[in-house]
């Protein structure tokens, strides 16, 4: 039986690429636009492009914040946040200081600070993802493999043990995190070709 994968659509971004990539990796994907339609998924993907504040408002308006918390934090359904979807797991973001995040991970979201060598923001393109601890999400993926990034903000966890991979841009940041059933990646696995598919396939196996 292929796993039933809920793709969360909160009205800001393209969920189609994620849906297609999940399907290509053997998931039975369905798009969820309201918390009442979550329907007992085996896995959840929270994609994301757009601004932090708008995204949180839309999640709340669509009853998704509470429904996701119930499935993930109480039932233990694995959820993967991608890009902004990872940032929403944090408690707050410099991008929209007046809005609370989901707060599932004790972390803040900060803007990338340009350095002499990495002076262009957004961080846009392919960059190495270095695993900092062995984790099933990266099984079969060599540390240092390139993934596709496009973002101006990054997640800063208070407890660094949730970080499972980092990347080097602007003095380095958390590229992937894991805490129980909660997973987040700052890069786009759905756009990272072979490496991205390997990661999605690992996630669907959790």
């Amino acid at each position: 039986m292929s796993p039933r994968v809920a793709i969360v659509d909160y009205g800001l971004c393209n969920v189609d690429s994620v849906r297609r990539a999940v399907e290509e990796n053997g998931g039975d994907a369905y798009v969820v636009r309201d918390g009442n339609d979550l329907d007992r998924p085996d896995h959840i993907v929270l994609p994301g492009v757009g601004a932090f504040g708008d995204a949180m408002h839309n999640l709340v308006d669509r009853n998704l914040d509470k429904a996701l918390a119930r499935e993930v934090l109480e039932v233990g359904v694995p959820m993967l946040g991608i890009c902004l979807g990872m940032q929403l797991l944090a408690t707050s973001s410099e991008e929209s200081p007046e809005v609370d995040g989901l707060g599932w991970i004790d972390a803040t979201v900060q803007r990338l600070q340009p350095t002499a060598t990495d002076r262009r923001v957004p961080h846009l393109g392919w960059n190495d993802v270095v695993t900092t601890q062995s984790h099933p999400l990266f099984e079969g993926i060599e540390s240092g493999t390139d993934f596709y990034f496009v973002h101006s903000y990054h997640v800063c966890p208070v407890d660094s043990s949730v970080t499972i991979a980092t990347s080097t841009y602007c003095d380095g940041f958390t590229a992937a995190l894991a805490a129980g059933p909660v997973f987040g990646v700052q890069f786009h696995p759905e756009k990272s070709q072979r490496a991205g598919f390997a990661l999605l396939s690992n996630f669907l196996g959790l």
Partner: protein
């Protein structure tokens, strides 16, 4: 380390892909779906797709076409041509574009670009700056290079950065399709004036041209159409050449 991207550009007109010279005399070069599948198989870094007639005909983007193409595109996909409004951006993102590129509208209604970056974030919004040289100097053009504007390219690039744009594609109208190399002077001037990524476009004919744009002007990505469609040269071999010359690329 962040890799320099090598980006094939697909130009679409009416029903097929075309290749132009100086933004004109475009020749048909095949079906877009076929091209995307080949580039997907070869694992290119990113694809840029321009519908070059959409602006001229004022028809707006062909959303159904982009929807079909994006379904086969598991690599970053930038879509431009005929983008007129915030709603156009929203619909293109919905059907599977990762980044949406403004052209003419950025010169006529820059406030629309600002509104789009606020709503969808900088990372989703790209602006193509089409530059032409003549006896009077260097100017930004619009409508596929048909009309000159009053904008100086560097000043316009800064204006777009201030509007929150996440990336610029700097295209030389004069060099388009010439395969004589990029306009390095304009590229360098814009790359040093802004702190957002800049894609070099227009004029690449050899791997050496790509290297020059990266080392001499600090472009974050190099785009090419003719050299990949009309010669035996490929994005993968281009990256091998760049790697041999000390440039970080994804191999």
């Amino acid at each position: 380390m962040l890799k320099t991207r090598v980006v094939p550009t697909l130009l679409y007109k009416d029903f097929g892909l075309v290749k132009g010279t100086a933004f004109d005399s475009r020749r048909a070069v095949g079906s877009p779906m076929q091209a995307i599948k080949v580039y997907e198989m070869r694992g290119v870094d990113e694809l840029v797709f321009f519908d070059v007639t959409a602006t001229a005909n004022n028809t707006g983007p062909d959303f159904a076409l982009i929807d079909d193409l994006a379904d086969e595109c598991f690599m970053p996909f930038t879509v431009g041509g005929g983008v007129r409004s915030v709603d156009d951006v929203y619909r293109l993102l919905q059907v599977g574009a990762d980044k949406v590129c403004f052209g003419t509208v950025a010169t006529t209604h820059p406030e629309i670009v600002g509104e789009a970056t606020r709503r969808f974030g900088s990372q989703s919004i790209v602006v193509a700056i089409d530059v032409r040289r003549d006896h009077a100097g260097v100017r930004v053009t619009r409508c596929s290079g048909q009309e000159d504007t009053e904008f100086d390219p560097v000043q316009f690039a800064r204006m777009m950065e201030d509007a929150g744009v996440g990336e610029l594609i700097v295209q030389s109208v004069d060099r388009d399709g010439s395969m004589d190399g990029y306009d390095l002077d304009i590229l360098s001037a814009i790359c040093s004036a802004v702190s957002i990524p800049v894609v070099a476009s227009g004029g690449a004919g050899t791997y050496e041209h790509l290297r020059q744009a990266i080392t001499e002007s600090d472009a974050s990505a190099v785009a090419a159409a003719s050299m990949f469609h009309f010669t035996h040269q490929t994005p993968q071999a281009a990256k091998e050449y760049l790697a041999e010359h000390g440039i970080a690329v994804r191999l």
